[in-house]
Amino acid sequence: MFRQLKARFGAPVAMAIAGILGIWLILMVTLPQLQMIDYSLRPSLLPAEIGGPKDGWTLINYVTLFNNDIHLSIFFKTLWSSVLVTSLTLLVSYPLAYYLAKTATPGQAALCLLLLIIPFWINEILRTFSWFILLAFRGPLNEILLTLGLIERPIRFLNGDTGVLVGMVYAYILFMVFPLYNAIESLDGNQIRAARDLGAGSLRTHWRIVIPHAKPGIATGCIMTFMLAAGSYAVPALLGSPGSRWFTQIIYNWFFEGGDWNQGAAYAFLLLILCIGFMALVMRLFKVGLADIAK
């Protein structure tokens, strides 16, 4: 590998490339993850006990989760809610992506893309905070619903999972729209027209022509959205209540309130496994590879 680099760039640049890449992949990407796994497999000990008889590999930190009904239920709620967020996001994004890629004139599409990109540039915290104001107990949404007479008393949107789900769809929607748009855009419009001429209705055209073509985009969008949702700390912290905690919040508490890093590392590793598992499942279902995802 180094020989190819050297042939193209000469020895000094080739060494710089290899060195920089090596430092990043080893010191920043790989070793910290391995260290986290190692931590998760060791008991939490006092400094004096490290290296002593109690120091050794154990699964005790993982057993904790399965013995704690509250943590276990939060783990599964995080999984289930993230799947829900991903499906909702896909549902909301698909018509938009299709419109941008196939129905809109080039001018309309350019304008819409610019309008889409602007919120995407804005801080996730601020986007979430804007929903905090909108959904507040005495906030604008309750006020409108009261005025319209649709409800008699204000609703506590921020007192359960509703606010968290809505906020997540909002925060991560563009990670779904763009891969979908890119995938649908590469579909030849003649295929859609051909399907229509042969008598296929709108739904059938989508189901048989557009969606199969957009598979890599759907897979990428779903993987990204799920990962962001399951790993989100900001949205549940801002829009949730103590009763609607997210798994990331439990992890945070192990580190900064419980002071048990080994336990926290085990929970963090489980979250990582959850995301990898989801990714593997989606890649298998949609029959796409890693190269398709990075597009």
Partner: protein
Amino acid sequence: MSAQRFFDWGLRLYIGLFFVYLFLPLAIMAVATFNDSRFPTITPWNGTTLKWFAELWADGRMWAALGNSLLVAGGVLCLAVPIGVASALFLTTVESRAKPFVYGLILSPLLTPGVIIGISTLIFWREFGVSGGTFLTVLGQATFISAYVMLMVMARLQRFDRTLERAALDLGATPWQAFRRVLLPFLKPAILSAAVIAFLQSFENYNTSLFVVGYDTTLTVYIASKVRTGLTPAVNALGLVLIVITILIAVVYELKRRRELKPKGV
């Protein structure tokens, strides 16, 4: 064709509603900045005021956090841009059986939740006696921002015509000269836009920073803590200022990018 037209109109209505959904919360947040109310809201309207900007200006901790964010973003640029460029060059040059593995490793930080990157960085550096702070925030953020830089530089590298490089070598240039005078100038626009994106990614990062900031709070972490404890419309004022700056950068960036995409001359 009336069913088709019905479908098209439905789609258009949907697009309209979607953009209302996208912008209404941000608009409400912006308007609430000017409401003379202790809690940020627009209902009820207690009178128009600019006092929350004054309060924001006087907030010393906000300025400290801003300074920290800029410091971190600068550090991330210094790490992520060289790393991203190096990995893009590596991936477009090397052909080997190990390449898919390296490629997967390079992409992995993008597919890892930000909190996990923060946690693993924190744990790893504890072994060397380094605790959370500006240094670890830079390292944690650069771990995944480098991969974004790589993707952007890679997109341009794939359009590079390698015969240009060979021509330079045939005309007597050394590999270093060919790299410095042919390849780098070609990559410059992509490197610049990657730097802009990397800066914003760093400035806005929350999930990774949360675990590694220690006491060196960044602006985004500060905003989140303000929302949860001590929320006043001064947070909106800060949000509004950041949104205006972000939109300016975004528009300039987009216009510049589009001009580059257009074919030059006729």
